[in-house]
Symmetry: C2
Subunit: 233 residues, 2 copies
Amino acid sequence: MPRDAAPPRRERLDRDRVLRAAVALADDSGLDAVSMRGLAQHLGVVPMALYKHVADKDELVSGMVDVVLGEIEPPDPALPWKEALRARVLSARRAVLRHPWARRAIEGSTRRTPTVLAHMDAVAGGFRAGGLSPDLTHHVMHALGNRIWGFSPELFEEPAPAEPPSPEQQEAMGREFAQRYPHILEIAVAATRGDLSRVGGGCDEQFEFEFALELLLDGAERLHRAGWASAAR
Amino acid sequence: MPRDAAPPRRERLDRDRVLRAAVALADDSGLDAVSMRGLAQHLGVVPMALYKHVADKDELVSGMVDVVLGEIEPPDPALPWKEALRARVLSARRAVLRHPWARRAIEGSTRRTPTVLAHMDAVAGGFRAGGLSPDLTHHVMHALGNRIWGFSPELFEEPAPAEPPSPEQQEAMGREFAQRYPHILEIAVAATRGDLSRVGGGCDEQFEFEFALELLLDGAERLHRAGWASAAR
DNA sequence: ACCTGAACACCGTTCAAGT
DNA sequence: ACCTGAACACCGTTCAAGT
């Protein structure tokens, strides 16, 4: 049998191809579709073949997150510090919104890859550029929490109801709510400008994100101007 | 065969017994130990027996969260609004810290049970008692995010390293970091007061939580005093 | 009304082998 | 160096039956 028998049936795998395929699969079919077995099948390969390129499932997901974070654009260096930070965080948000599974992947991810550390370092650098102390920068970054990745927890997230509620159901729900949860009802009325049929539409997450971001950036600036230092130092 | 043959081998299951057993199992062995099969075995019962008492896994976890949220103590009604809110949220925090799995369960949970809604309503009521508009209350609650449940995302969380790094490793790590992540290094130095061997100890989560909580409550009060209203109204 | 048994369609990962 | 096959020890859930 001559040794030019069978050409390789497909391109060689490498880490990059595995990660890009995983990202594409998650974009198309959601994060749950990205199992080691499902991804392998997608690549026309046996599950165990993937383990030559990623140590385990966790590293696969971290790698996928790195791909997303790679899409963050650094802000114009000429920008004043607050605008630069806002731009960086909103760029992270655009990247995360492009890949709807990324939020969950980041929340569940346990690995601090170089890409993750680089973004955290850049955000910290943004505050330092504004003159905030390392101490204050540290605590403010904790306060921002996952917002440095461009998302906030979806507090009022709703599992899309199969059917939009009928007017009667709405009526009944309204009465039930008014009794038991009067303050949530008030909020829902305010958020939908009185049109409760739009309650299912959810909140304007972009507005909520920017509202919280401004609140926290302003708070940080105010504490900095006031010469804040943690009591322990 | 007389009908008094075999007495029931164990107490009858009911929803409450199932949920309490699940909470106890998670407290002892972590959330991953609470599989339908694992819990069933723990109860000396076949997996399918549980499905008479909870619709599915998701409802089991929601029920477990409800048990935890049931431990929140309402604040003294005589308290001024900010202190009352702080007390309520810190009580939620104590409940969540008592059950280390609860954070993850809340983040992953998709169901808004009456217990969940009741807590959200109480927090909203706290802001309303301070005179904040439903509009402002809504946005501030978004800004608080998961902090209303008493936890913030663990930004700098580290997977406990098997071995504490040797002084040489620390040295090397420090040099590597100083080069690539100078701002994170600064923060680590500030947080550990210069003793980098304590970096593995993690941050003072209680301090970070209260810092962010105060920042957000103060920000809310400031906006309220300034007569803030969202542009859209 | 409540519980059981067997089965279905999945997981991540180890180990020993193939080319 | 890279991929395969078979196996292990798990999942959640459906369906039809038992008492």
